[in-house]
Structures are given as C-alpha cells and as structure tokens.
C-alpha cells in the first residue's frame, strides 16, 4: 500500500513534468522549426514564455528521479544499467538544452540588424532547438523501454537484456515519436494562449498540425502495443485504466475542437487534461510493474520507514511549493503576454 502510494506520487510528478516541461521542450521544437516572416517574433515569444518558468518546470524531473531512487532503489539501479546509453543521451540533451537557452539569452545581439540575434546567439539557438527535439524523443523511448519487456532482472539485481536494446524496439521508437508530438502540441496550444494577433494564428496552425501528428502517432502506437506489449494493452483496456483513457480521448477531441473554433483557453485546459489522462492511464495499466516483467512496485520498494517519510513529508513540502508555484504562474501566465521588452532583455531583465 505504501509502495503503491509512493508510485502514485512519482506518477503525479511525472505528469506535472510532462504537461509543464513537455511544453518547454515543445517550445524548443517550434524554435527549431520557426518559419515565415515572423520567425524571429515566434522565437522571441517562445523564449519569453519559457524564460521565467522552465527552471522550475525542469525540477519535476529531478523529483521523479529522486522519488524513484528513494522509494524504489532496486528499480532505479536496474534502469540505470539497462538504459545506460539512452539515459546518457537524455542527459546530454537536457544539459545542452538548458545551457544553450541561457547562453543564447546572454549572447550579444547582431550588430548589423539591431534587435536580431547575433551569430553566437544563432548558434546557441540551433543547439537549443536540436536538443529540444531529441530529448523528448529519448524520454519517450525510455518510457517505452520499461513497458516493452526484454529487460530481465534477477532477484540479486543482475540485469540481462534479451534481444535488441529495449529502447530501440519498435514500440519504444513509436513512444518516442508520440512524446515528440505531444510536446509540440502542448507548446503550440500554450503559445496560442499567450500570444495575440498573427503570432497567435501561427501557433494555432502549428497546434493543429501537431494535434494531427498526435493522432497519427496514437494510430501507430496502438497496434504496436497490442502486438508487442500485450500486458500493457490488456491493462489499458482493464476496468481501472479505461475510464481514465476515455476521459483523455474525450479531452483530446475537445481540445482539437476548441482550437478549430478559436477558443484557446478551453483548448489549453483540455490539452492539459488529455496529456495528464494519457500518462495516468499508462501508469495505471503498467501497475504493478516498474520494469516489465521482473520488477514490480512491491519487489523494488525501499523500507517502510523511507516510504513513510517520503509520503508524510509530501504534504508539508507541497504546502511550501504549491503557493510559490501559484505565484510564479499567476505573475507570468496571468494573461496574454505583452511583448514589449527588447529581445534578450527578457532574460537579462
């Protein structure tokens, strides 16, 4: 029971990371694919939207990792061995994304075109965009790897890999693509909320493309799930997961409709619900496995003293955290942003 609660907490933190930091990765994706006459304005809007919040959003991942190694140390150790390479690549992406974002903000502007990024800033911008595309794909692949099977962990903790690398299997690759599409969708929907006029139209269009990509990726993932991860497929259709998934699918349809009908606020709410329900459904269907088929929430759990400490400290921690987060988002996400600051000055403020 304690272990299940701790796993639920980790899943909640993962959902927070996905809907918040996922959109920051999505911002980087749209930075990489900024096109058209408003290319610089799009990038500026993205940087402006991410600037104040991305560091805080990123901490949810540290939370997930800490919860994992504190509450399920055996699973964390096994994952670290089985996913040694993709985790290192994720780290590379995370480090380059964050570093390039701040480096770009503090690089000099172009001398010839005032207000435009200088050469150094453009280079860091390219790194930022590329890292933002690669990292969510890799994270999705890692998520796929724990469901796909093929990672065997004996009771002593020794890890053996059966067949192809678990993160490079078709299901994992499809999950990577799915994660990429979801991040792009989240970001475009949020950005359509936080901009006005032509920029809003740009991001709305991008949201519609990304939404289509999400649907396409789900169509690809579902048969793969059925063929390659029957335990997860049955779990998703099971009595506990399907209502959550049904809400998620309804929210997805609602967010698409709201976007189409130019109702960005409703689209944002529905999109958050969609992403949260899909991940929650995955978590419920995956339960009790942390790494299918050998590691479960119960076999990997830390001692009850540790679990109790983590669970009891959470309400107190949240008592500090949630009001602070509320303040942060109220100040910076309260209304449509005004792009009055000079670019680069946003971060440098």
């Amino acid at each position: 029971m304690l272990a299940d609660l701790a796993a639920g907490l980790a899943l909640a933190a993962l959902i927070a990371y996905a809907v918040l930091a996922g959109a920051d990765f999505g911002g980087g994706i749209w930075d990489a694919f900024a096109r058209g006459p408003r290319r610089d304005a799009q990038r500026e809007a993205i940087a402006h939207a991410m600037g104040p919040v991305w560091e805080a959003n990123h901490v949810w991942l540290i939370f997930v990792v800490v919860l994992l190694f504190t509450c399920f140390p055996g699973a964390y150790a096994a994952l670290s061995i089985a996913l040694f390479t993709p985790f290192h690549l994720v780290l590379l992406g995370i480090i380059l994304r964050g570093a390039a974002f701040v480096f770009r903000a503090y690089s000099p502007q172009s001398i010839r075109r005032p207000g435009a990024p200088g050469r150094q800033a453009r280079r860091w911008g390219a790194v930022f965009g590329a890292a933002s595309v690669i990292t969510p794909v890799l994270l999705g692949m890692c998520l796929g790897a724990v469901s796909a099977g093929g990672v065997h962990v004996d009771p002593a903790g020794a890890v053996t890999i059966e067949g192809a690398a678990p993160w490079l299997r078709p299901l994992s690759l499809a999950m990577g693509g799915f994660a990429l599409a979801v991040c792009a969708y989240l970001a475009a929907v949020y950005l359509a909320n936080e901009t006005e006029g032509e920029l809003r139209a740009d991001f709305r269009r991008r949201a519609l493309w990304a939404g289509t990509a999400v649907v396409a990726m789900s169509v690809l993932v579902l048969p793969l799930l059925r063929a390659r991860a029957p335990h997860l497929w049955h779990g998703l259709l099971g009595a506990r997961a399907w209502p959550v998934l049904a809400v998620g699918v309804a929210a997805a349809l609602l967010s698409g409709w709201a976007l189409w009908r130019h109702r960005p606020r409703l689209a944002r709410t529905a999109t958050v619900a969609q992403a949260a329900c899909l991940l929650a459904g995955w978590g419920i269907a995956q339960h009790p496995y942390l790494i299918y088929p050998d590691v479960t929430v119960h076999t990997a759990a830390a001692g009850s003293a540790t679990l109790r400490f983590v669970l009891w400290s959470t309400p107190f921690g949240m008592l500090l955290l949630l009001p602070s987060l509320w303040w942060l988002f109220r100040v910076f996400k309260g209304g449509a942003m005004r792009l009055t600051n000079a670019p680069g000055d946003g971060g440098a403020g």
Binding site: E55, C71, F84, L92, S107, L321, G346
Partner: protein, 443 residues
C-alpha cells in the same frame, strides 16, 4: 580504461564542474539581494545596477548548476547502481528534502529574474531573499547524503540502520561538513566577484559601482573566510575522533605518535613512509586534533595498508586548501585594514585581490578532494567498497570522455559569457555616480 577508474573519473569531472556553479548559485543570490536591499534603502542607483548584474550572473550559473545537478542525480545510478540499490532508500530522504528547497530556489529565481517590472519592490526583494535562503538550505540538506557516506548510521551490531529515514541527518559528520561547505560557497563567490571589481578599479574605474561591488563581495568573502578556520577546526576535531585514517592521510601522518607534529607542505613518500621537504611544527597536530599537545594521534601505520586512501593526493589537496584559505584571509584583512584607515585601495592591494580571486573556488575543489579521496577505498565508509558499487556496464570510458568534452566546451563558453558580463559595466552607473567627482575624473 578500467570501468572503476572511468566511473570515478566521470563522477569527479561531473562533481567538480557542478560544484563551482552550485557554490556560485548559493553565494551570488546573497550578494544580489544585499545590493538590492541597499538600493531600496538608500535609493542610490549603482546598488540597483549591481543587483541586476549579479542577477544575470546568478541566472547563468544557476542554469548550468541545475542541468549539471540533474546529470549527477542520474549519474548516481548510471555509475554506481549497486551503491544506489543498497543505499538509495537511506540517502534518499536527504535528496527529497533538498528537492523541495531546490524547487523553491528555481521558482523564486524565475520570479526574481523576470519580475523586476511585474512585482512590487518589496515582493521582488523577498523573492530574492527566498532564492538566497533556499539555495543555502538545499546545499546544507544535500551534504547530509555525503555525510552519511562518510559516517553511516550503524546499529549496535555494526550493521547499517535501515529503519530510520532520518539516518543521513543523524550522521554525526553532517553538522561539521555542512557548516564547512556552506562557508566555502560564500568564500568562493565573494572573492571571485571581488576580483572583477578590483580589476575594473585597476583599469581606472574607481566609481561608486566598482567600490560598492568590491566592498560587498569582500564583506561576504572575508566574513566567511574568517569563520572558516574555526569551522575547519571543528571538522578536523571530528575527523580525528571518527575518521582517524582520513586525518592521518591528509596530514601525511605515517606513524602513530604522542605529541604529533603538524606537517606543512612537502611531498609524501608512501613507500618510505616519510614526507620530503616539509616543515614540521612539533606537537601542533596533537594540539589541533585533541586540544592536548601530548595526545596520541593515530598514524597510517595503525591501519591495514589496503585501506589507505591516496596519501599524496589527500595531503597535497589539504595543504592547497589551507594555503588558499589563509591567502584569502590575508587579502581580505588587507582590504578592510586599508578601509579602516580611510585609505584608497592601492594598486598592490587591487593586484593581490585579482590574483587571489580564483583561490576560493580552488579551495572548494581541494577540500572536496580531501574529503572524497580521504574516504577511499570506501564508497560508504566501513560498509561498501567503491569497487563494489560500480556499474557492470562496460561503456563508461566512452561516456567519461564524452561528458568531459561536453563540460569543457560549456565551461569555456560560460567563462567567455561571464567575462563579457563582467567587463560590460552599465552606462547608468556612470550617470548615477556622476555626482561623485572622482567618476567625472575617471571618465
């Protein structure tokens, strides 16, 4: 390259890199808030300019500290999975609480950096104070995990206590270690920042902006540097009682003796069990460790040879740390002595301040080497050997070289950006200080 060697090297590179930014991320917000507080109090614009400049430096260093810290939380498992499988549930609570403090730091830093126009002056200052406080607290909390590795909580039979989630905080090393490391962050930041303003003044910019920047940075740095020997004494005292082997290693104290001499400088020769070229101060080690000049201090010979840490590295790092510390105290006191006599800081003083400005960071790194190399061959002292915690994956040499290259590139890029930030004093500073005649002169 052997996996254990590569894993230790990757951990060393990652931590050495992270530590600089973690330390600046603890120290810079305090400077930034102090400057903003002075601005609100006096209305003198150069304090605001300093606060904004230090806020930018904080933003850059915090971001790098955050991503390199994320890497470390993964690397604990990637490099030491068997250690984490064994100890994750025990050290975890320290990381969990640190997570909350770090989260608050990230939230309030966002509010601070981007909220200059959006928050009231008092709310903005409060957000900055929250950054400084949560940064300090997160540093103190995370040291508990390392303290437990130095001195794990054991039960009466000598087994690791697993049914107490507060184990990392009950490690008796936590208090002395966290005090020493927190002070070292402020020393590193204070003197590093002071070097920037000393250099500016050497180049003739003796305006209010540079004077106040120098005074604030050295105020923090000197205060912390003066407290550090006291904290270091507590630390040595604790080590002598609870980790005598580590003390013997970093003091290069080979033979158990009464009235042991303090060995200053020199190169230890582990084969011959002597220190070449050292100055010896009779009875000082016994006095420092046990407050008794005739106390017996256990030497390396009291322990099996295979459990010795690398004596040469530990001794040189310890000597380097202490030397840096005293050089900083000297430079700081020189500055305040000059100020107390109402003299202008002279060129030699400014040159000295520029020269010593990296020593705080060097001392921080050296001190970390002392404590970590001094714990070897154990990953959890007395419980688990480092080689028993390392991963079974054989790709570690590749990731070690890859990450070293990555950190090298990022370190150079960041240094260039910070240099640009440091040399670009705001034009407003000149306007703000225009009333002061010496500024008009300097222009």
């Amino acid at each position: 390259m052997e996996t254990l060697t590569a894993a230790r090297a990757q951990m060393e590179v990652s931590l050495a890199f992270h530590m600089v930014f973690a330390a600046l991320g603890i120290g810079m917000p305090l400077l930034m808030v102090a400057a903003e507080g002075l601005w609100l109090r006096t209305g003198r614009a150069h304090y605001r300019d300093l606060a904004k400049k230090w806020a930018k430096a904080t933003a850059l260093t915090f971001a790098i500290g955050a991503v390199s810290g994320t890497a470390l939380s993964f690397e604990l498992g990637l490099l030491w999975p068997r250690f984490m499988a064994f100890a994750g549930g025990i050290v975890g609570p320290a990381f969990a609480l640190e997570g909350y403090a770090f989260f608050l730091e990230a939230i309030f830093l966002g509010l601070y950096l981007y909220g200059w126009e959006k928050l009231s002056p008092r709310a903005h200052l409060a957000a900055g104070a929250a950054v400084a406080a949560s940064g300090m607290v997160s540093g103190i909390l995370v040291v508990a995990a390392n303290a437990w590795m130095q001195q794990p909580l054991l039960d009466a039979r000598g087994a690791v206590v697993r049914d107490n989630a507060l184990a990392p905080f009950l490690s008796r090393a936590w208090g002395v270690m966290s005090l020493h490391s927190t002070l070292s962050c402020y020393i590193a930041t204070g003197f590093a920042a002071a070097g920037v303003y000393a250099l500016g003044m050497l180049r003739g910019r003796r305006d209010a902006y540079h004077r106040s920047g120098l005074a604030l940075a050295l105020g923090l740095g000197t205060a912390a540097a003066l407290l550090q020997p006291v904290s270091g004494h507590f630390s040595a005292d604790h080590t002598a009682r609870h980790q005598p082997l580590k003390l013997a290693a970093y003091e290069a104290h080979f033979h158990t003796t009464r009235g042991a001499a303090e060995v200053i400088g020199g190169i230890p020769d582990v084969q011959a069990r002597v220190v070449h070229g050292a100055i010896r101060i009779p009875k000082l080690l016994s006095f420092l460790a046990f407050a008794d000049p005739d106390a017996e201090v256990k030497g390396l010979d009291a322990f099996p040879r295979e459990l010795w840490p690398n004596v040469v590295v530990a001794h040189l790092a310890f000597q380097g740390m202490v030397a840096c510390g005293f050089a900083l105290i000297g430079a700081g006191l020189w500055f305040w002595w000059t100020g107390w006599r109402r003299r202008e800081p002279g060129r030699w003083l400014l040159r000295a301040l520029v020269l010593v400005s990296p020593l705080g960071i060097l001392a921080l790194e050296a001190g970390w080497i002392v404590t970590e190399v001094g714990r070897q061959p154990w990953i959890i002292r007395g419980v688990m050997l480092t080689r028993d915690g390392v991963t079974t994956v054989d790709a570690v040499p590749a990731t070690f070289f890859g990450f070293s290259l990555l950190y090298l590139v990022l370190g150079v890029a960041l240094a260039l950006l910070l240099r640009r930030l440091a040399t670009g004093a705001p034009p407003r500073a000149a306007q703000a200080g225009a009333a002061a005649p010496e500024v008009a002169h300097a222009r």
